[in-house]
């Protein structure tokens, strides 16, 4: 069995990656008895409330598995927590971390270039004595273990996961995307100054657009649900260059057939 670990920023990143990995016959494991015992330290005896936050749900990684591969996708919750999430996860695995064949990080460039984002991330990792051999965004280092850092949207310029999801929307839901964008523009006129500033902050307008489409597809459900269950990451969307690059990164990193 090949074990791999992915640290991602948020729940939507985890949902997108789990969905893409399902194309490689890696199924999300819900029943603990069916999961490789290797991962037990990551979910057994979890402490609640985490960070003292009574409203925060238990932070359990998404595990996907087939006959040859078992992958944990851990959410860091924010870009600044990625290094601590990796160190905590490796420490939790203890001596078993030596059995990891792949360790990857997936994060957003946000307003920076991918290389600037990666430099900051590598500095944060080095501050915790975690040396990451991969030095170029999107490129997998052979290892062992294989390592790589994927910086959304394209390992080059600024952007986030939502840039990729906009590509998916343009493929499968182009009319909904136009309507959602128009709604954003019209809706902004009904916001007060503070609400408008919030909408224009970072990738919030893109996030809202994706959320509007998602709400139509899966009313009352979270965006992660529509990403998993609808057409976003299927068919011709997989050929979109940024999605294809992410698939290639995962395939190389995790040594998938």
């Amino acid at each position: 069995m090949q074990y791999g670990l992915l640290i991602v920023e948020g729940q939507h990143d985890a949902a997108v990656i789990a969905k893409l990995l399902s194309d490689f016959n890696l199924k999300t494991i819900q029943n603990e008895k069916k999961l490789a015992s290797y991962w037990r330290p990551l979910y057994a005896n979890l402490k609640f409330p985490q960070g003292g936050d009574l409203l925060k749900r238990m932070d359990v990684p998404i595990f996907v598995e087939n006959n040859t591969h078992s992958i944990a996708i851990r959410t860091a919750d924010s870009d600044t927590n990625i290094a601590s999430a990796l160190e905590a996860t490796l420490s939790g695995l203890g001596s078993k971390q030596d059995q990891l064949q792949a360790i990857g990080i997936v994060c957003d460039a946000d307003q920076q270039t991918a290389s600037a984002r990666m430099s900051k991330l590598c500095a944060a990792l080095a501050g915790r004595n975690l040396t990451f051999a991969a030095s170029t965004p999107g490129v997998v280092h052979a290892g062992p273990p294989r390592t790589g850092i994927m910086v959304f949207p394209d390992n080059l310029g600024p952007g986030t996961l939502e840039t990729l999801l906009e590509d998916c929307a343009a493929t499968h839901y182009p009319q909904l995307q136009v309507l959602a964008c128009n709604y954003m523009t019209d809706g902004a006129g009904h916001l007060d100054e503070s609400e408008r500033r919030n909408l224009e902050k970072g990738a919030n307008r893109q996030k809202a657009t994706i959320a509007v489409i998602g709400a139509l597809l899966q009313p009352g459900a979270s965006i992660a649900v529509t990403l998993r269950q609808d057409r976003w990451l299927t068919g011709s969307a997989l050929a979109q260059p940024r999605i294809a690059a992410l698939r290639t990164f995962l395939k190389d990193l995790l040594d998938l057939p």
Partner: protein, 355 residues
Amino acid sequence: MRHLDSLTIGAFRGLRDVKLEGLGSVNVLVGDNNSGKTSVLEALALFARPFDDKTWLASASLREIGGPGFLLSDAVNWFFPHSAERDEHSPVRLSGFASGKKEASRVEASIRLVNATDPDVAGLVMPRRYVDVSRFLDENNAENATLGFWGSNWSVDRGDPEPKMLPLRLLSSVAHRLTVFQTVEISSVLQKNDKKPVLDALQLFDQDIIDFLLLTDGDGKNSRPYLRHRRLGPKSPAPLSIFGDGLRRAFSIALSLHSARHGLLLLDEIETAIHPTALTTFFGWLIKVSRQSKIQLFCTTHSLEAVDALMAAETDHPGDIVVHRLEHTDNGTVATRIRGELLREMRYDFGMDVR
């Protein structure tokens, strides 16, 4: 307070080349059953006080309360790693850095079996085990002693003056039930008028305790600890043995702080007998008094509640707590260090088990 920065257990019982680095003021040893946690405590004790017969005795009897079947010489023998092929015990090797020292000190001990005549019974040959101990403060400076063990007796032959050794107290998880062994410590506390920390600990569990004292039985042979209790009548002290386990454990630990001042306190299964809801308060007190008394604390535990309580108790200096997790691997036992800040992230931010 750190007296030791690191300990390397080259060879001791089943442990080989186990490195405990970056020791903290409060060190928590975790790991599966039989991973070597108690062995680490014993190794620490012998490293800190290699020439002290009482420390050998305390370490040898940590796992087994002395009784009719207990053979001290046999218990000591098993400190020495056993080779199944040659059916012999090889030397103990320990090394470590004292805080602020640039050169490691080493302790080496070997054991030999001698058939000696029993002085009390003519013609009876009795096997004795002799332990030759050396401590190397540097390459050219060795101190030596020989300790003898036979049956449940022992002797010590060491140089004069006695080599400097760190004060130390090693407390088993059942020590609080052996009140007879506490009388020496109680006497010392009473003589030095150092009652307050012990009373503070007792009052964490029962505010009605006014005082503790040592009383001699009617025949004058044995002394036992008693407590004065408001509700039981302050004029009629009650024997400690009638009180609950948690209170007795706290009493035992509080007494051991007195002995460990300016040295090491080694607690096996720190949470024993103490209710989970009382752990944080008690550990807060323990850490505070340890800091005041310049004591470096080492404890073992299987309890996540105990780990969490130690973290919750040590909010002023979170970096002072270090967890050392012992794991069996194909290459022997490995100690993984989890520093205080990472421990907090693992437990508070990611909720993960650390044992």
